[in-house]
């Protein structure tokens, strides 16, 4: 065994990889070797810390110093100052927004302080490509416990009592689902992991797979034991190459150690896992479509019942759970249901991972106890709104969800509260919007997405979302008519009740929730032909204020459409016929003479 005095963990999740963490790692290894320090300081590749907009992230142990945005140019200084002289490189430390405070240790950073990491507890701590590091943190002990000490019924009971609900969107009680599959008759049963993660902007599942792949494999084996299955499939997006590679490696290592395969722990239980790559459509994340896709057919949903627990993959009893759901299972088995049930709200236990995005200072991945308020997430963890603008709304649940307005910032976030206010937990995308966001435009954006992703099998979704999108587009273009709002509502209700699968049933949600909280914005578009947030181009007009214009001609020179004319030193004018409303003139004007209405 090698003895190192320092471990340097560098994130190699997708976020940090795209900000070049790999070249930082290779540069660091080279610099350490050049200085003869490679036997003292070990560089370790790890998973996502969640602080993706500050990547590449580097954490130095034993001190726990947290460096952000480390580039290749910083390596020499880090090696010279920190690793040879023990002086922390101050300028690379994390800087708390809204203050001048620089924070050295990562547990002291506000962003992490309000979090409770269960599903992400190994992400950023272990090297996901080494099964030993997972084992060092009690990995595979839950599987050992289940096989040695528990009957399948006990496992199901434990999960039921923990109160764990599906993290993939629906929030269905996991223990109950397992029980259906356990009771179902069948010589062959299957365990499936849903890692399709199609929600735009969401990357919770990717981070778990990249940072802690064994936690999912172990939980799938536990599920297999509970329901009587010995084959598992992970259906993972093809767009997640790092996650796929780490999963492959994890499966291979688990096999080598006999933690997957035949006769695990000598207890007579066999379990195997295979990977299936996603077919690249949002609807393939819907469970029946996903199963159809694994069977090698076109990923289209089918009516339920029969539910997969009774008739799933190739007609056999199958459970399908989300990545994050599985990531919680091993921890529940190890720590007991009481521990898990002690966190969260009455009907939503444990924690939830959110991908925090939009107009917020700290974007990234967070895990908070259920029942945390949106205010804590936006202001304490997220550091507030970018450029200190006003918070307008947060969208949860992506294209299936809804928006939460500022009045409801103090709502404790859990499954039932979100449904009650017209939003939904979804898989955990959380997009923050500021005062410059047009809510009609947002609704149109999400509907464009679902309409595009509608598989076309059922008419309510295929035709209904198309009609809704037409109306929304018309409103944004200033051609809305008074009946539009009523028609939108009727269409929404019809699609919700008549569509075949969850995609169609939830597609109208963004429209309904914006109508509920921001109806006045729709009305402004329709009756006043105005977009209050100044987003919808067709409803905007740019005008030069004659009193402020000094006639410098800067705007005219920057107008790409040659729509501005005038004599130097006299007020200029914009020709509304030619103006393409790009806003370039307004940005350039030094005298604030250009007004947008």
């Amino acid at each position: 065994m090698e003895f190192y005095r320092s471990h340097v963990l560098v994130c190699t999740g997708t976020g940090c990889t795209s900000s070049n963490s790999r070249s930082v790692i290779s540069g660091l290894r080279k610099e350490l070797a050049d200085k003869g320090l490679e036997k003292e300081i070990q560089v370790i590749e790890t998973g996502c810390f969640g602080f993706c907009n500050l990547g590449p992230i580097m954490v130095v142990y034993p001190e726990g110093v947290f460096y952000c945005r480390v580039s290749q140019d910083d390596i020499q200084e880090i090696v010279e100052e920190h690793f040879t002289k023990g002086r922390v490189v101050q300028r690379l430390l994390y800087h708390e927004p809204n203050t001048t405070v620089k924070t050295q240790e990562f547990n002291d950073i506000e962003f992490f302080k309000h979090q409770k990491r269960i599903a992400l507890s190994n992400c950023g701590i272990i090297n996901p490509e080494k099964i030993e590091e997972y084992i060092a943190r009690d990995g595979y002990f839950a599987l050992a416990k289940v096989l040695h000490e528990m009957k399948p019924e006990d496992v199901i009971e434990e999960i039921k009592k923990s109160g764990l609900r599906g993290r993939g969107g629906g929030g269905f009680p996991t223990g109950m689902k397992w029980n259906f599959a356990h009771k179902a008759q069948g010589d062959q049963k299957y365990v499936v992991c849903n890692a399709d993660e199609g929600d735009p902007g969401a990357f919770m599942d990717r981070s778990v797979l990249e940072g802690d792949p064994h936690s999912v494999l172990e939980a799938m084996a536990i599920a297999g034991y509970a329901i009587g299955a010995n084959q598992g499939y992970i259906y993972v997006r093809a767009e997640y190459p790092i996650a796929v590679e780490r999963l492959r490696l994890a499966i291979e290592q688990a096999h080598k150690m006999g933690l997957l395969g035949k006769n695990i722990f000598g207890m007579g239980f066999d379990f195997d896992v295979d990977i299936r790559l996603g077919a690249g459509a949002f609807v393939c994340g819907e469970e029946t479509a996903l199963l159809t896709s694994i069977e090698g057919k076109r990923g289209e949903p089918r009516p339920r019942p029969p539910f997969p627990a009774n008739s799933g993959l190739w007609g056999k009893p199958t459970i399908i759970n989300n990545v994050e759901t599985y990531a919680n299972v091993t921890r529940i088995i190890r720590n007991g249901w009481e521990w898990f049930a002690s966190m969260g709200t009455e009907k939503s236990k444990g924690t939830k991972v959110f991908a925090l995005a939009g107009k917020i200072k700290n974007t990234g991945l967070i895990e908070v106890p259920m029942g945390t308020t949106l205010r804590t997430i936006v202001y304490d963890i997220g550091g507030g709104i970018l450029n200190d603008k006003k918070f307008k709304a947060a969208q949860t649940g992506g294209p299936s969800g809804g928006c939460i307005p500022a009045e409801l910032l103090d709502t404790p976030i859990d499954y039932d509260n979100l449904i009650a206010i017209g939003a939904m937990m979804g898989s955990g995308g959380l997009i923050v919007m500021d005062e410059d966001t047009c809510m009609v435009d947002i609704a149109r954006f999400f509907l464009e997405f679902t309409q595009d992703e509608s598989c076309g099998k059922c008419p309510p979704c295929r035709i209904g979302t198309k009609r809704m999108l037409e109306i929304l587009t018309r409103i944004c273009e200033g051609k809305g008519v008074p009946e539009d709002l009523e028609n939108l509502e009727t269409l929404a209700k019809t699609i919700k009740s008549a569509a075949l699968c969850g995609l169609g049933q939830t597609a109208p949600n963004p429209v309904l929730s914006t109508l509920r909280y921001f109806r006045h914005e729709y009305e402004a578009h329709i009756y006043d032909k105005k977009c209050p947030a100044g987003v919808c181009k067709s409803l905007l007009s740019y005008k030069i204020n004659e009193d402020k214009c000094r006639g410098c001609s800067l705007c005219a020179r920057n107008c790409p459409a040659k729509a501005i004319s005038g004599k130097v030193k006299e007020p200029f004018v914009i020709d509304p016929e030619k103006c393409i409303k790009c806003g370039a003139c307004m940005e350039k004007c030094k005298f604030g003479a250009i007004e947008r209405k």
Partner: protein, 122 residues
């Protein structure tokens, strides 16, 4: 994997390799590595500490470094800080020879080598 025992011994081994990333509740040895320290042999002291800890398999002792505390004439300096104790022990003029005694007597047996301490906090 044939048994729980096998998994346990694997864990014990892997845990040692990761001890650096956990708070082990054991003392930390801090080597002062300012220019003055390095010029007086702090690097050699550091290397000796590392090889000594390695040969004794003391993976739960953390070794870190810091800059010059201002006592340049007493370099190389090392500080031993113990969790729960307010004042750390600062050793002066450490050599590759006497650091071995510090490890044996102080780190392993819990008896600070008082005659080499600069601060007389006992």
């Amino acid at each position: 994997m044939r048994s729980l025992e096998e998994l346990k011994s694997l864990k014990a081994k892997a845990e040692k390799e990761m001890a650096l990333r956990e708070d082990t509740g054991k003392p930390t040895i801090i080597v002062h590595m300012g220019t003055c320290g390095i010029a007086n042999g702090a690097r050699e002291v550091l290397n000796t500490i590392l090889s000594e800890l390695k040969s004794r398999n003391l993976t739960d002792i953390h070794v870190t470094q810091t800059g010059c505390p201002g006592l340049c004439h007493l370099e190389p300096l090392i500080t031993v800080s113990e969790p729960g104790k307010k004042n750390p022990y600062i050793y002066a003029k450490v050599t590759t020879e006497n650091v071995k005694k510090i490890i044996l007597q102080h780190i392993i047996n819990g008896q600070p080598v008082t005659e080499w301490l600069v601060n007389l906090e006992k």
